[in-house]
Symmetry: C2
Subunit: 165 residues, 2 copies
Amino acid sequence: MRRTSFADWPCSIARTMDLLGDWWTPLVLREAFYGIKRFDVFQQELGIARNTLTDRLRRLVDEGLMEKRAYQSEPVRYDYVLTEKGRDFFGVLAVMNSWGNRWLSGDEGAPVVFEHDRCGHEAEAEVVCGHCKEPMSAADTHARLGPGYPARLAERPDIRNRFNR
Amino acid sequence: MRRTSFADWPCSIARTMDLLGDWWTPLVLREAFYGIKRFDVFQQELGIARNTLTDRLRRLVDEGLMEKRAYQSEPVRYDYVLTEKGRDFFGVLAVMNSWGNRWLSGDEGAPVVFEHDRCGHEAEAEVVCGHCKEPMSAADTHARLGPGYPARLAERPDIRNRFNR
DNA sequence: CCCGGTGGGTCTCGGAACTGGACCCAGCAG
DNA sequence: CTGCTGGGTCCAGTTCCGAGACCCACCGGG
């Protein structure tokens, strides 16, 4: 009775969660963005069990978000660096950080803030429409079937209903 | 030996993952953004086990992302609607959707795309700096200690090192 | 008055996943 | 030849997850 897999659902959110949707994976990625590369450092900073870390790193490598590199030989030692696919995931973490700063901080304020080097200011991440660059919120955005949506499913009345407004 | 809790870590990403970091919760929220309100519909659309759904909805209500409302009495029937905190989570899902569309779609293209009502165009979500409104990426952003970071921890050399550039 | 349907759940149980800790191995430094 | 470093694997115990059965209040029909 294995966990149901979302990898084949026609939904990028489900697919993303299938890849990264456990408690540790995003934190491993966060460490990687902080510049952590080595197994031991990941392990110490996160306090994660070594086998669990092995597992997460392997999955991230398999899925192409990180790369395992031998950074020396004799003795051969490996480290883990982000690929472009992995670096591109930064946006998700940044938005998650902003949401958490807004809603989960106590009176003392945000634990960690971002600074944007290009403008030199402290700033929260914001989500905007890729076309008009205006903020994008649930109220002014809706979903449509894309080209990759299975035609067979798109016929179903509940699906049509959901995407039809 | 319960799962280690991230709720008290000085990191909004960890706190967010502690709340929502299982496979189902973001999908329940996705359904809510599609306009789903009722228990049965969540259950049928996701194919989630009923007890698991009960659990996820209860946590979302406890954490203030959703609200349980009696929408009729005799018999009393409940539904679940997003609160402001929950609606604000849309950004995270939108960015996750965009990332998945970019990296996890096959040849046939994205399964679901967003349309931004304000400009009327199909558009992917983009993450920008809240200050200068320019795109924010891992390369041009770095993290700093915020006011809510515990002073005691901030002393530690590994922590100082991490946030110091 | 009883039969079944609807909506929103709870109970049970087997299998999977997470955790902590012990163990492993190659190279090298003392 | 002992022990340390770095990058792991193996194992046992506990907890969590998923499927499906069961529950209960109300309603409408015959």
